[in-house]
């Protein structure tokens, strides 16, 4: 990722991708290790601040914010010290191991293109058979569904942050727009899930454009701050626009999903229920499993579309814009429109995820769309290694899955989240899967006759 752009020394000599930990180690005696660890520590502090730094506590007469900056400091310090240890250990190990054995073993470990692809297929297969595995109970399937929502959100935000390089801290706003669109459309107009889903995506995309239009002229930090504000504005509107959104009470009794018109209930006043349709005994598990497969379908569709978009001219323009906006303009790319399209595309996927979230919960309120959610999704994308689809799945499992597991431990849940984050940063400070595959390879393109310019 952070390839030292114009230095000719980083050219062809090393087979390891530039920027990888091993490269750092190899040409790096201790000063560089210190720098690397420092960078990791700062990043950890930034990510930990919103997640570990604040906690809501109940005091007499309401809620208050508890500041836990010491925890943030500890996390950053832990990453810093741990990173030094890990790198020094690797350095010692690399010196000790025979030289010839080094690069290849490293490359094949999830790093090489082919093995990463097969790893993706294995994950997909595992997801497909998950409900039928012997250890899969109701609880696990339900958690996996939630995980898939985050994966979907991560893939959507990745378009904006990973590809287009726009730091969006208010992504949860589009998630909220999607959820409320579904809730209100289905309650007020009685539209079904399959009608509401595209509408919710469309509405979120339109919102993305409306926000993007005035904001996208800003760069870097300014953009981050304005999007953060926008996310809060949307939440405050949801809280205060009582007549439409129900304010803090939210919207309840949202239409639950049905199997193409056959509800997952024990009985139904009209038509047939799902279990009657298939002649099964009634079980509440049916709905859970159906929801799981629905979320898997949506997530896989998101994956397919975002993977494909990356190979289209618009996807390449997003990445080019992230790399050098001035060069883009000199090639005839309209930066504003291109950024806007990235924003709208990301928002659309958040809209889909939001409307699925609403139908799964049956109840939504502004509380589900706080800044913390934005921070978690962003952490998933950043720690997954900006731009990598599988990296996002892995970091979602670590960041959302693990803490869900510890939900019984109540207040230690966020600690588990922080712990998972620290572990990832120690292991791979540039994200789980930081290397980038080209969208097209010359070797893979057939030559056609009549080549000309």
């Amino acid at each position: 990722m952070a390839a030292p752009s114009r230095s000719p020394s980083s050219s062809t000599s090393s087979p390891t991708p530039p920027g990888s930990a091993l490269e750092t180690v190899r040409q790096a005696p201790h000063g560089r290790i210190l720098l690397d660890a420092l960078a990791a520590g700062v990043l950890a502090a930034l990510l930990a601040l919103p997640i570990l730094g604040f906690r809501l506590i109940e005091v007499t007469g309401g809620l208050a914010l508890d500041y836990r900056f010491r925890l943030v400091g500890l996390a950053a310090l832990g990453v810093f010290a741990g990173r030094i240890l890990v790198l020094e250990a690797r350095l010692a190990l690399a010196a000790w191991r025979p030289a010839a054995a080094r690069p290849e073993t490293r490359r094949t470990f999830l790093g090489a293109y082919a093995s990463r692809q097969s790893f993706g297929w294995i994950l997909a297969l595992l997801a497909l058979i998950l409900p039928w595995l012997p250890f899969a109970d109701r609880n696990l399937i339900d958690k996996a569904t939630l995980l898939l929502i985050y994966v979907m959100l991560g893939w959507g935000l990745n378009v904006v942050v990973g590809l287009a390089g726009l730091l969006d801290l208010g992504y949860v706003a589009f998630y909220a727009v999607g959820a409320y669109s579904y809730a209100l459309l289905s309650q007020n107009f009685g539209l079904s899930f399959w009608v509401c889903l595209p509408l919710a995506g469309l509405l979120a995309a339109v919102f993305g454009m409306l926000l993007g239009f005035p904001v996208l002229r800003l760069r870097g930090d300014y953009l981050a701050i304005v999007t953060l504000g926008f996310g809060e504005i949307v939440r405050v509107i949801l809280l205060n626009w009582q007549d439409v959104t129900g304010g803090p009470n939210g919207v309840s009794g949202i239409q639950r999903p049905s199997f193409f018109g056959h509800p997952f209930t024990a009985t139904t006043p009209t038509g047939t229920t799902f279990h009657d349709l298939f002649g099964l005994p009634f079980s509440p598990d049916h709905r859970i499993i159906f929801l799981y497969y629905l979320s898997l379908t949506l997530a896989l569709a998101t994956n397919l579309v975002t993977l494909r978009i990356r190979r289209l001219p618009i996807g390449r323009a997003w990445e080019a814009l992230r790399e050098d906006e001035i060069a883009c303009r000199s090639l005839g790319i309209d930066p504003t429109r291109t950024k806007l399209s990235a924003f709208a595309t990301g928002a659309m996927f958040a809209g889909f995820a939001g409307s699925f979230f609403a139908t799964r919960q049956g109840f939504i309120s502004p509380e589900s769309f706080s800044f913390l959610e934005s921070a978690i999704i962003l952490a998933i994308v950043v720690l997954g290694g900006l731009g990598s689809q599988i990296g996002i799945v892995l970091s979602a499992i670590l960041l959302v899955g693990l803490p869900e597991w510890f939900r019984d431990l109540q207040q230690y849940r966020m600690l588990a989240f922080g712990g998972a984050m620290v572990l990832i940063m120690l292991w791979r400070p540039r994200g789980l899967m930081a290397s980038r595959d080209p969208t097209v390879r010359l070797a893979a393109v057939p030559t056609s006759p009549g080549t000309g310019g």
Partner: protein, 290 residues
């Protein structure tokens, strides 16, 4: 005053660019012709890069008019257009004094981004692209062929799948030219393309520029410091000093122009280099060895 039998391509009139009290370009007027190499020379800080920035829309000139009349296209007044529209509609392509590639993307991808306009048109708001329709696939094939052609011309085929940022300095320069050519420009502006190249690379580059003019028949504006290069490959030389035009002639005429000699002898060339040039030279020293 330079005269040519070829049709005028770019006409600049009374162009001025002010930064505070400094006129980086001062009431400049000249004409560049199609199928010719027009060299722009002058001491450091003369305003050459600023002129390019005005031509390509990165600066809005304070005063003046820039008209482009490419064969088979309407006349464009560049001073009124946004930078990306100058590249897209008027077809002016440029390279940068300090190279601007997409370093994390592969060499081939850099060349495909250069063909964004036709690819984007064929992908029809990305719908045809997403569905993989025939029209899009054909355009993609065409664009890959164009990319392959320029890879071949610039000797980068073997590195096509490497990140652009990992190329040696000289190859990055050539890649930037190849990327500009992928936009099928009517006018190509090269800002010190030979800076930092070793003599061999520099010779190859001169040949490439001559070939581009010969084969594509486009106009080329070339900022160049090496006078021997200017004298051998350019048809027309424009000399700037402190933002003003001091000579506009063919190479032989410029060589013995008293004003030019004064401008060049009056300033010791290597003193007070602008920092960017100094940085360039340092990089060159590092890059030349590898």
């Amino acid at each position: 005053m330079y005269c040519s039998s070829r049709p005028a391509l770019l006409t600049v009139d009374h162009l001025s660019m002010r930064f505070g009290g400094l006129f980086a370009v001062n009431d400049l007027g000249f004409t560049a012709y199609g199928s010719e190499i027009t060299a722009i020379i002058g001491p450091n800080g003369a305003g050459k890069t600023t002129l390019f920035n005005c031509l390509t829309g990165f600066y809005k000139p304070s005063v003046g008019r820039i008209a482009l009349t490419a064969p088979g296209a309407p006349r464009f007044l560049l001073e009124r257009m946004d930078g990306y529209r100058i590249a897209r509609d008027a077809r002016v392509a440029r390279t940068f004094q300090n190279i601007r590639l997409f370093p994390g993307m592969s060499v081939l991808e850099n060349l495909l981004v250069g063909q964004h306009t036709p690819l984007m048109r064929a992908s029809r708001y990305s719908l045809a692209g997403l569905l993989g329709l025939r029209g899009y696939r054909l355009q993609e094939r065409r664009s890959l062929d164009t990319a392959r052609y320029w890879l071949d011309r610039t000797g980068l085929t073997a590195q096509a799948d490497q990140p652009a940022g990992s190329l040696p300095y000289g190859s990055q320069r050539r890649l930037e030219i190849a990327r500009a050519m992928c936009t099928e420009p009517a006018l190509l502006c090269l800002d010190e393309p030979a800076a930092g190249l070793n003599p061999r690379e520099s010779l190859d580059l001169n040949q490439l520029i001559l070939d581009i003019r010969q084969e594509q028949g486009i106009g080329i504006l070339l900022i160049e410091h090496d006078m021997s290069v200017v004298m051998t490959i350019s048809d027309h030389v424009i000399v700037l000093d402190h933002g003003s035009l001091i000579a506009d002639d063919d190479p032989a005429g410029v060589r013995c122009d008293p004003a030019v000699i004064r401008a060049y002898l009056g300033t010791a060339e290597d003193e007070d280099l602008p920092t960017e040039v100094a940085a360039d030279l340092n990089r060159t020293a590092a890059g030349g060895r590898s």
